[in-house]
Symmetry: D2
């Protein structure tokens, strides 16, 4: 970390700054040039609280504080050079194979989820997704079946063998959802629900962490860091579209984060072209583009009858389309030395 | 609600659509023009689930679904013509007087909060704000003092008489925080933490709901609707800046939402120029602008020694500046027939 | 077009509205339901000025005006079902082959552009790009070589046979640039420089129109419509990143516009992963993703010595990397039934 | 400027960097700490081309380049401590008085502009605005009356004495528009039309520069710098709303830029609450807020019959409302020691 003092800084102010750094337990290296005085901080500053940096920045005689090292650590590629491969019921996520999580937005009833699960299985997709607890913009909208929905998912798993991905929204539900699900999903709206992230750090089930639609790269990795810091190393990062002015899609799918996440972090990267676009008609091209830029997997909303889907009908593809999509994913995966 | 059918729609498809609407319990009015077939839905459609609208939109032979009425109801000015005035320890929020909530970002220790509370009281501000549970981007940053912080706030209240505003982040903490706080704050990151909103609908303490930094007007009002639908009518709406490309401020303070919220809803509107800008040097002009466009109050970060503040040092004003700010707020309030 | 009247509208107001539509030369179809009165407009409303629609929307007794048809016409797939294939010196853009435009951000001197052109040619890329007139954020930054730069580009073309793509920024330069260039580029900052667009409508050279970093889909197509309306049908649409809050890339490359543009319009679609990301390290994955979601071509900044490039050094790949990129593009193109 | 080298940099690389800086004509100050090597650059680096900084950043062994000084100079408050006051026909802009520019979006015909001008005069507003050359999203929309419109504006000026503000869009029209107008406006879409900015640098008429809806603070000031660098010091900076995800307004009016522009630059700051919101119903509160946070003036769309306005009907207030707005502006101006 480097502190650039303002022009005309007084010696006493330089000393005061050096003293503040020493109080934090670090040594300094002073450089007084013709124009500028610069204080370098010696050692691993990743333990310095971000608020301490803010305080330094807010000091009137300090021009700028340059934090060269990253504010996250455990999720970082510097910390763990090897790709993290997460194992779920014999499936590897983040390894050679591309994983595809498919299923309806919401679990609606037993027949619906069983029928869809069978089609998902047939298509060659590797996991079953479906919501039992649903975040909905309006309180009068369908809120999900709750535990009953989890039971239906489990039945579908027992019949098809597909592991289950489902969302958890409340710290009080983490234990319950863990009993049923193979992967717990944190939705975009809860990416910085720190109480929930801390709770998920305590369990041993893998977590699919969706990027907040407002989140910078740093904030996204910071959220994952919460879960790893709690002791749970099995986190997948999921790009699902961000909020921008652009209005022909529901969100703007930010695929460029995929290669950057793969470089910055050792965690697997999943892309959600359904929420990321909100448009069924472009789910396939965006799914293929996601694989082409390096994603380890996809999560896709699919339904046997999309127009009757209880939620997200606009962006849900038919299970027939899922079959054809899986064929193309297989083909493009192999081009990149991977497979499904 | 109006359904516009695609050009060349078949009679059987029109009938199918009419049947779907009837299944929802509504009558229709059919209009077959030279070019277009339009189906009008008769009656109060506010009870129709948003997902039903999505399903209609996703139907291949439907061009567009126009929902003229609003998806929220209880928060709406149509539902309650009179301004909601929330009473907290004899203070009225949303009434004639402008309220100012001031205090540090975090409660750091007993002396700090007591000293600041005394200055807040002297300045003429009406409530004391301060965080005991802190949402922080990194897990290694200071997370707040928890219940101990709440106790310090209570001591400050007992000495100064200032009611307390503090954040709650976890459904499991709602009861605890309610015991100490006069107003419970929902932070921007939790605006769509529906489990938390539902829990806050069950209590009788007022709630300060901060706008999600990604939230549209409709989503913001939808989040408030969750609390009102649960039975708690005492909600304040707080604009605190949104995420945009603009980088000279931490967030972009969207003051234009103030007059629109006052027109659309009966709830009090508060503005946070500290988080809304992230810059101490422009807190004052933006605070005055907020009053000029109709805000009912402000929440401002103030500290006796901003450069030593544990968090948000960049945007915290000194209590000395708070004194001068209160003077200007008084002056501008009166211009608009209000006061402090 | 459909006009939804407000609840409680008076008969005289309905008649007034009908009269306004008739003045515009259209017939109406009136539908008076139990709740709502709706006026349908009969015929091809695409000739109605957008401002007329605004005026209707601003009328106090009108609730909403739904314009079902699109505000652009000539660029639309409805107007021309067949893909537009643009021919430039025997190269087809928008046909079976993927085109790659490569070269430096700026033409710096004769040797530089000749050396780079030779490498571009060897790599298998199909066109040479390079700026002679440069839009720069600061007036003291290098503004380009002007006509001398165009001459150097022409020499490079004569030696290598590569057609030239270069930017034009001023209506007064259109004639000059047309004498040298094979394709005239409109930069992102000039996407709604209507004077320039109109001038480009009058020439017969193809135009590469870059999306404004603030532009919606509708605005982008509206800008292209200006050129087509002037008589020049040879327009390529280029996605080059939009302005969002996300800060790990210079812009956010919005690849989802690629399949949507291909569906909405008959014009060829080009992607610029260099400006679209501002990061050399992810140009390759994003280039491949662009092809995977349906782009007809790419424009890529390449330099024999990127670190010495006069502009855009951050995002320029080496010509060595261009060679390897071309190999991968060839491979992925064939997967999609295309080629280079 | 400070260059932070990567960890483990070699001595030869440090020397190479020092040599590059010396080639640019600057001395360096080397600081080799325990962890980091830092190279400080001695002297006024504001003359260093931004592209040179980019090249340094793109160098593999350089971690970061910190440019402490600002990339713009002439527009900067550091360069000119005193507020620039622009005189137009005896009116001072940027002085004690708040100026209000009012009038229709477009000049439609002689009667329209004369009638509106009379009302503008009566209301106490100080300048007449109106478009003769109109930037329109679609080529079939009304493009303005051109020179005829300028003549009508001149007649309105002759009758009322109100100076004229009108937009120029094409370098070839600068001379013509200068003959009629007192202030030339650069629209948001042309903020980085550098050819136009350079042309405006050569004339002596004041320029009202609107912020690009995508422009950062730095880009906005950089655009103004172009005009000042050409020799024309009379530039006003106009905030008119930026592109964000928020959809209840046409643009998001970024009032927080007002106090920041006043601190960073000596140029007058104008706010446009009409385009900044796109909503007639909130023009007044946002106009007052603009004054409250320090704007030197406003530009407001007003029409004798807004519903018949040829363009921007949604956001145009009536001249009757303009009268009442002027009364409130007078009142709030005085509160801030100003007047109208």
């Amino acid at each position: 970390m480097i502190i650039v003092m303002k022009l005309g800084v007084e010696q006493s102010q330089v000393q005061e700054t050096i003293d503040r750094i020493k109080e934090l337990g670090f040594n300094t290296h002073l450089s007084q040039g013709q124009n500028r005085t610069i204080i370098g901080i010696v050692g691993d500053v990743s333990s310095i609280d971000e608020s301490e940096v803010e305080r330094l920045r807010a000091t009137p005689y300090i021009e700028e504080v340059v934090r060269v090292s990253k504010p996250y650590k455990l999720v970082s590629r510097d910390f763990n050079k090897e790709d993290t491969v997460i194992k779920v019921n014999g499936i590897e996520i983040g390894g050679k194979k591309i994983v595809v999580m498919a299923g309806p937005c919401s679990v609606e009833n037993k027949d619906q989820i069983l029928n869809i699960a069978r089609e998902v299985k047939k298509s060659g997709a590797t996991l079953l997704r479906g919501g039992a607890f649903k975040p909905r913009t309006s309180p009068k909208d369908f809120q999900g079946l709750g535990e009953e929905g989890l039971k239906f998912l489990l039945e579908a798993k027992e019949e098809t063998g597909l592991p289950i991905v489902t969302e958890v929204m409340d710290t009080r539900d983490v234990e319950l959802v863990s009993e049923y699900a193979d992967i717990l999903q944190v939705g975009t709206r809860n990416m910085q629900n720190y109480a929930l992230l801390k709770e998920l750090g305590k369990i041993d089930k893998p977590v699919l962490l969706k990027r907040g639609m407002w989140a910078t790269l740093k904030e996204f990795l910071g959220a994952a860091e919460y879960i790893l810091a709690g002791g749970n190393q099995n986190v997948m990062l999921c790009e699902r579209g961000i909020r921008t002015f652009s209005d022909f899609t529901r969100n703007t799918l930010d695929l460029s984060i995929v290669p950057v996440l793969k470089a910055e972090s050792h965690l697997p990267v999943i892309v959600d072209p359904s929420h990321g676009t909100g448009r069924r008609d472009i789910v396939k091209p965006m799914a293929l583009a996601a694989i082409a830029c390096g994603a380890d997997g996809l999560t896709v909303e699919a339904h046997t009858n999309p127009q009757k889907a209880i939620s997200d009908a606009d962006q849900t593809i038919s299970t027939a389309d899922l079959h054809s999509l899986m064929g193309e994913i297989k083909y493009i995966s192999r081009m990149f030395g991977r497979d499904i």
